[in-house]
């Protein structure tokens, strides 16, 4: 998927003007937030679990070479075939080769953000493999030919009527907008695919180094179908998904499911280890795992290491006032919300992704809910600083900021200026509002009320309130 994050502002404006989209986003984020809050309140150990989860993920990243080597060794010992890919193109090449060697024509796929990141579907399809998305939301967006708009609920932007028309048009099903009937249609259609597919493709929520196990968490059961019925299971996972021990899994699950959907556990958690054994009556004959770097070692090296702790729960999306306003598509690439605003510039480059890092009030709500305590606002600030250092900022903005800094460092001039503006404002600005500002500042006045400057400078008010008399 070609990133379009540089057009964030234009895409946001479109999203803000789209009333049905606004309603869908509000409904989804509201439900997710409510469910999360309830689940967290009902689990007194949540804060302790956050500390523990954060520590486990950070500890793993700090020795990722050791843990990843162990994962590879243990997985291979138990019969998995492990591949490594330096970038997305290489990962796609390996996946296409696996499909060809295994003689696969039809694959069922469970939701994977990494697969979106590397464009796996397109690659496999152009290699002649029919890939059917099996997560219901992903199935909907695949039928509609759209990218997912939320990492948990990919079709969050689609109302039931749209789904009904989509099934009518693409599947030839009679129109119904009863949600259970729509789900029933998808269940029936996808069950046929599960039984016929030669390969199941999944991501991984976690990779356990000590046992070489792949962990998958789903509610629908698509992850289980695709990893038990087809004769080949292909896993694509980022190298940061490793955790040291299978014993670390429970605490991370407690965090993940509560943060994601407000459940104490998802309906299905599968721990998959190695290939089929002689005594197994079913299950894939072969398990292939493609470990994908695609820029992750670069992130590991620098000051953004903490973003690789992300367990993709989506809590930061739901709580973010920016995501709540514009939804996932406005971000222009695979990852949205605060985690996406950090990941996109790192993966796609600052020239592409910097608008996302700048589109934040740094309110900190994301850091408050992050189950593994990623300091998201700090990382966004770092990205802005990098943008400046790399000379990507608008020179006028840099100049303006320099002037502002100089002014703030000179108390006398600042106060004189404040008094001057105060006097003028009483003459020019009525209703306590600034009517307009010139270009570059007009965003402050075009669509919102910008208060008129105070007649009295702040410093004077401050002194007065504190009882300090000059």
């Amino acid at each position: 998927m070609e990133p379009l994050s540089r057009f964030f502002h234009r895409r946001s404006e479109k999203a803000l003007a789209d009333a049905p989209l606004q309603a869908s986003i509000a409904r989804a984020t509201g439900k997710f937030l409510g469910a999360r809050a309830e689940a967290v309140a009902a689990f007194p150990g949540f804060e302790a679990a956050r500390d523990e989860g954060s520590r486990i993920k950070r500890e793993t990243l700090d020795r990722l070479d050791v843990h990843l080597a162990r994962f590879i060794a243990e997985a291979e010992k138990r019969g998995a075939v492990v591949h490594v890919a330096r970038d997305g193109a290489e990962a796609c090449e390996i996946a296409a080769r696996v499909a060809k060697e295994e003689g696969v024509a039809l694959a069922v796929k469970s939701k994977s953000m990494l697969a979106e990141e590397i464009g796996l579907n397109e690659a496999l399809q152009s290699a002649g493999v029919d890939v059917v998305e099996a997560d219901l939301g992903e199935y909907l967006v695949q039928l509609a030919g759209e990218p997912p708009s939320h990492i948990l609920a990919p079709a969050v932007h689609m109302a039931r009527e749209r789904v009904a028309r989509l099934f009518e048009k693409k599947l030839g099903e009679p129109y119904t907008d009863r949600i259970p009937d729509l789900i029933g249609i998808a269940r029936r259609r996808l069950r046929e695919k599960f039984l016929a597919a030669g390969m199941g493709i999944t991501g991984a929520n976690f990779l356990c180094a000590d046992t070489g196990s792949v962990v998958l968490v789903t509610n629908e059961g698509n992850g289980r179908m695709g990893t038990i019925l087809p004769r080949v299971h292909l896993v694509v996972a980022g190298i940061e998904k490793v955790i040291p021990r299978l014993a670390d899994l429970p605490v991370l699950l407690r965090l993940l499911t509560r943060s994601a959907t407000g459940q104490s556990i998802s309906s299905y958690v599968s721990v998959l280890t190695g290939g089929r054994r002689p005594e197994d009556p079913e299950g894939p004959e072969r398990l292939h795992v493609i470990l994908v770097d695609n820029g992750r070692t670069g992130i590991l090296q620098g000051k953004y290491r903490d973003i690789l702790k992300c367990i993709r729960c989506g809590a930061c999306l739901n709580v973010c006032p920016v995501y709540q306003s514009v939804g996932g598509h406005a971000y222009g690439w695979v990852y949205s919300g605060p985690m996406g605003s950090v990941l996109t510039p790192l993966f796609a480059g600052l020239a592409e992704g910097a608008p996302l890092a700048n589109a934040s009030t740094l309110c900190g709500a994301c850091a408050d809910v992050c189950p593994v305590k990623i300091p998201l606002p700090e990382l966004l600030l770092e990205l802005r600083a990098d943008e400046r250092e790399q000379g990507l900022k608008d020179p006028a903005e840099v100049l303006g900021m320099k002037g502002y800094a100089a002014l703030m460092g000179r108390a006398g001039i600042l106060e004189a200026l404040e008094r001057f503006i105060g006097v003028i404002s009483q003459v020019l600005f009525k209703d306590g509002k600034t009517p307009w500002l010139p270009f570059r500042f007009s965003g402050w006045t075009d669509r919102r009320d910008f208060p008129a400057p105070s007649p009295q400078p702040f410093r004077k008010l401050w002194k007065k309130q504190r009882g300090i008399h000059p």
Partner: protein
């Protein structure tokens, strides 16, 4: 580059990325904050509460016979026509066979269930663990066990005995992590989705109903 070289090269690249950073802090010892383990009756009560809050059903009785009419009716109401159980699971076979007249149901094989357009079925299987914390049933592929009853059936009937209850997932993983079976499945309630308008609908891909049956 051979595949082995490529793996080594990735590990080396990561090691280089980590070098000289604040990465090499020795990790503090792993601490577990396990709550005290509880008694059997308490575990079963908490399991039931969690299972039911996740949309699962629970049946218990002094013996199998008095439970059969209720179980049969629950299956009939779910539209079940056929029953299947894994070969070698004697408990499940007994339940399935004695349940036949309460439908009436037919007994089908695993192969029949795998076919497209199989009749609506209930898969009956003895569960390996039941986790009180989350109301979770655990099935594994250990010793050649099948996972199809909890996968392809319309109704999943999990048979439990008091001995399979544990407090937390940790205990279950402890017991399995030495040589983990190919598949460990933690199953909590029926299959569900919220993908259309965040409205929860039961029965996305997996069973539409999960019935846990506690046998003495």
């Amino acid at each position: 580059m051979t595949p082995a070289d490529r793996k080594e090269e990735l590990i080396r690249r990561i090691a280089v990325a980590l070098r000289g950073r604040d990465g090499a802090n020795p990790a503090p010892a792993f601490k577990e904050d396990r709550e005290g383990t509880s008694g059997e009756a308490d575990r079963i009560a908490r399991f039931r509460e969690m299972l039911e809050s996740e949309g699962g059903n629970y049946l218990a009785g002094p013996s199998l016979d008095p439970m059969l009419p209720a179980l049969g009716e629950a299956l009939r109401l779910s539209g079940v026509a056929a029953l299947f159980f894994p070969p070698g699971d004697d408990g499940a076979r007994l339940v399935a066979e004695t349940l036949v007249p309460f439908g009436p149901f037919t007994l089908v094989s695993l192969d029949e269930v795998r076919r497209p357009f199989a009749p609506p079925s209930a898969g009956i299987q003895t569960a390996e663990f039941a986790i009180a914390e989350t109301g979770t049933i655990v099935q594994t592929g250990r010793e050649g066990k099948t996972l199809l009853p909890g996968l392809l059936a319309d109704v999943h009937v999990a048979l439990l005995s008091p001995a399979v209850f544990v407090d937390r997932m940790e205990e279950c993983l402890d017991a399995l992590s030495g040589d983990p079976p190919r598949n460990i499945s933690f199953i909590t309630g029926p299959s569900r989705t919220g993908d259309i308008e965040q409205t929860i609908v039961i029965g996305a891909h997996g069973p539409k109903k999960l019935i846990a049956v506690l046998l003495p």
